[in-house]
């Protein structure tokens, strides 16, 4: 057998080959589009120019246009609100559920599994479900709120500018909780039981055990879950498309949806690219936190 073939089978050659394919894949399908997107953001690209690879370079014109757009402030604010609100509640609810199911009562694993059903549904389906739940006239949520006396008049979630973003956020929180719960459950399960026992004998109450053992031992998991949560929330598109389409009057418009709307509704690919570039910068920052926290494993 040739030396190359042997190296491919059980030597360093095979490893190199695997790395090469992965890198080539990433470069072709992630790296190049990313670069091209940056290039687009400095060019004037409309529907008629879309067919050619090179376009008229307009410098920072697209950036200026985006920042001066009257919608820009709303979109920035909405994006921050949507992301932080979603992640905050997905995380706390997910963590609470993970702690709950970690108690290992009869059927706990089975129940935990059920929660995944929500997660495997396509975003558009979830959006349609929530459209029903949130419906102003016959929605379950209004019915509940009215019957418990929390509100006196039905809320028109999707068409009221005060509630439209909240409507999508509710759906997104529901959609993201199982993911948070599962990852946090894995982190919880990795904490050895005898640490809790030692802490208990050392005099720690349940609350003290949570703050001195569980939380510090979960630091890297929590960092990873929150980073992934932010990234996934910044990618959330389907729910906006299904529930509010960014409206009414831009009241639920967020960056990712605006980018799509500029590019594929108004066919201003340059400005769509500008928003994408800025989101990439944010995501890179969050990804750096993610990498850091997965590296800092505090295990024995």
């Amino acid at each position: 057998m040739g030396r190359l073939a042997r190296s491919l089978r059980d030597g360093i050659g095979f490893d190199t080959l695997l790395v090469f394919f992965t890198l080539a894949y990433l470069l072709a399908f992630a790296g190049l589009p990313l670069l091209y997107n940056i290039v687009l953001s400095f060019q004037s690209v409309d529907m008629f120019a879309l067919g050619s690879l090179f376009h008229e370079v307009t410098g920072l014109e697209n950036y200026r246009a985006v920042f001066e757009d009257p919608l820009a402030r709303t979109v920035l604010w909405n994006t921050i609100l949507f992301t932080l609100g979603s992640v905050l509640f997905q995380f706390t609810l997910g963590f609470a559920l993970a702690l709950f199911f970690n108690q290992a009562f009869p059927g706990s694993t089975w129940f935990r599994g059920l929660f995944l059903a929500g997660w495997v549904m396509p975003g558009l389906v979830v959006g349609v479900l929530w459209n029903w739940l949130l419906s102003g006239d016959f929605g379950v949520i209004n019915w509940l709120l009215l019957n418990t006396g929390i509100i006196d008049d039905p809320i028109f979630w999707r068409s009221d500018t005060d509630y439209s973003l909240l409507a999508v956020m509710l759906a997104n929180i529901w959609y993201g909780v199982p993911f948070n719960m599962i990852l946090l459950s894995v982190g919880l399960a990795a904490i050895p039981e005898d640490l809790y026992e030692a802490a208990e004998l050392d005099g720690a109450t349940a609350v003290q055990r949570f703050f001195t053992i569980t939380l510090p031992m979960m630091r890297s998991t929590i960092g990873a879950v929150i980073a992934l949560g932010i990234i996934f929330t910044l990618q959330q598109f389907d729910l906006f498309a299904a529930i509010t389409s960014g409206g009414p009057a831009g009241s639920s418009m967020v960056a990712q949806y605006w980018s799509w709307e500029l590019s594929f509704r108004q066919f201003d690919f340059g400005r769509g690219a500008v928003i994408a570039v800025m989101m990439i910068v944010v995501v890179l920052g969050v990804a750096a936190i993610y990498v850091r926290s997965t590296r800092q494993e505090t295990r024995l």
């Binding site: 208990e200 004998l201 050392d202 505090t298």
Partner: protein, 363 residues
């Protein structure tokens, strides 16, 4: 002495523990005076850890009474029992350095930072961890981790120390050293200790009082030498002592004062007490109690040797028999495999057991 001083520090009264339908502890009665070092010993799965964990409060007892320092603790949670435990895995807090591991309990109690640091230094000096206080557990060797686990227990000044096989992850020489250190520490602090081990030598060398368990039952408890000299049954006799006692079926002779061993050549040995002739018994012969001599000499019964192992300090002779006999001779011995030697045992050193129940006969 006041009345409370005479009460046992730890007391199990008719304690039972069930895991579902599995009966893990059966009618445990055990009283441990203050200051005593008690070893729980028995084969793996006999319920030693379960007993220790019920004492700690990590497992609830199903019935019976458990008292600590005269107080019934059946329903007291672990954190209020004021016991310190050294786990087999050490269970050090991985995210805390050695100092924080040592002082965790003090911190929960609200002891000031300065006082905690002082205590940590003091304990670190006692257990020899002076230079390691800022290290994380993962940066320590197995032996050092073991010491941190010990330090975390003694810093508390608890009502009792519980140890669950604390040395089983250490290498042999370190284990022997730590055995002595733990016992010395116990004596210096004057604490009460309950020490679980599957290693009877550890139990015998460290403890004042040894509790032998099997299948959730206490078979016998007492001073180490009492267990060795007067085992109440065949299980204890076989478990205590190394190498283990030889068990040979035998029949009492017509005189009632000798027994015929069911071995090749039907050797006869004298026993210290008189039994009805024809009684079937099991004779227990400790390997180190058997004398080797000339097979033709008076009082010696012949036995054929199938193998010889010399360790220098002792020689192990294995007989060509069923059951195989092990005989230990101190120092070296000239016997070779295939030789026939004579063996003899003092009558008062022959243990006799009921073949059916395994209970010790006589006394």
């Amino acid at each position: 002495m006041t009345a409370t001083d005479q009460k046992p520090q730890i007391e199990f009264i008719d304690v039972d523990k069930h895991y579902g339908s599995f009966h893990a502890l059966k009618a445990i009665n055990l009283a441990i005076p203050k200051g005593q070092f008690v070893a729980l010993v028995g084969p793996s799965g006999c319920g030693k850890s379960t007993l220790l964990r019920t004492l700690a409060g990590l497992e609830k007892i199903t019935s019976g009474t458990l008292n600590i320092a005269g107080e019934r603790v059946n329903d007291i949670p672990p954190r209020k029992r004021d016991l310190a435990m050294v786990f087999q895995s050490y269970a050090l807090y991985p995210h805390m350095n050695v100092r924080d591991n040592l002082t965790y309990a003090l911190r929960l109690k609200g002891v000031s930072k300065a006082e905690r640091a002082r205590k940590a230094d003091e304990v670190a000096a006692v257990i020899g961890l002076d230079n390691l206080l800022d290290r994380k557990p993962r940066e320590l060797s197995g032996g050092q981790r073991q010491r941190v686990a010990m330090g975390r227990a003694i810093i508390r000044e608890p009502k009792a120390f519980l140890f669950d096989e604390p040395l089983s992850n250490l290498d042999a020489s370190l284990r022997v050293r730590m055995r002595k250190e733990i016992r010395a520490l116990h004596d210096r602090i004057g604490s009460t200790s309950v020490y679980v081990t599957h290693d009877q030598i550890e139990a015998m060398t460290m403890a004042d009082h040894v509790v032998v368990m099997q299948a959730g039952v206490i078979e016998q408890q007492g001073a180490p030498l009492t267990l060795y000299e007067k085992p109440v049954n065949r299980f204890v006799a076989g478990f205590i002592g190394s190498p283990a006692m030889n068990f040979v079926p035998a029949t009492v002779d017509d005189t009632g004062q000798t027994i015929r061993l069911d071995l090749k050549g039907q050797p006869t040995i004298a026993i210290a007490r008189r039994f009805p002739p024809g009684t079937h018994v099991v004779a227990g012969l400790r390997p180190e109690h058997v004398d080797i001599g000339d097979p033709d000499a008076a009082g010696y019964a012949p036995i054929k040797i199938s193998a010889v192992e010399a360790t220098g300090s002792a020689t192990y002779l294995f007989s060509d028999d069923d059951p195989e006999l092990i005989i230990v001779a101190a120092g070296g011995h000239s016997a070779r495999a295939g030789d026939t030697v004579g063996f003899k045992i003092a009558p008062d050193r022959v243990h006799l057991f009921d073949p059916k129940t395994g209970i010790t006969l006589g006394d």
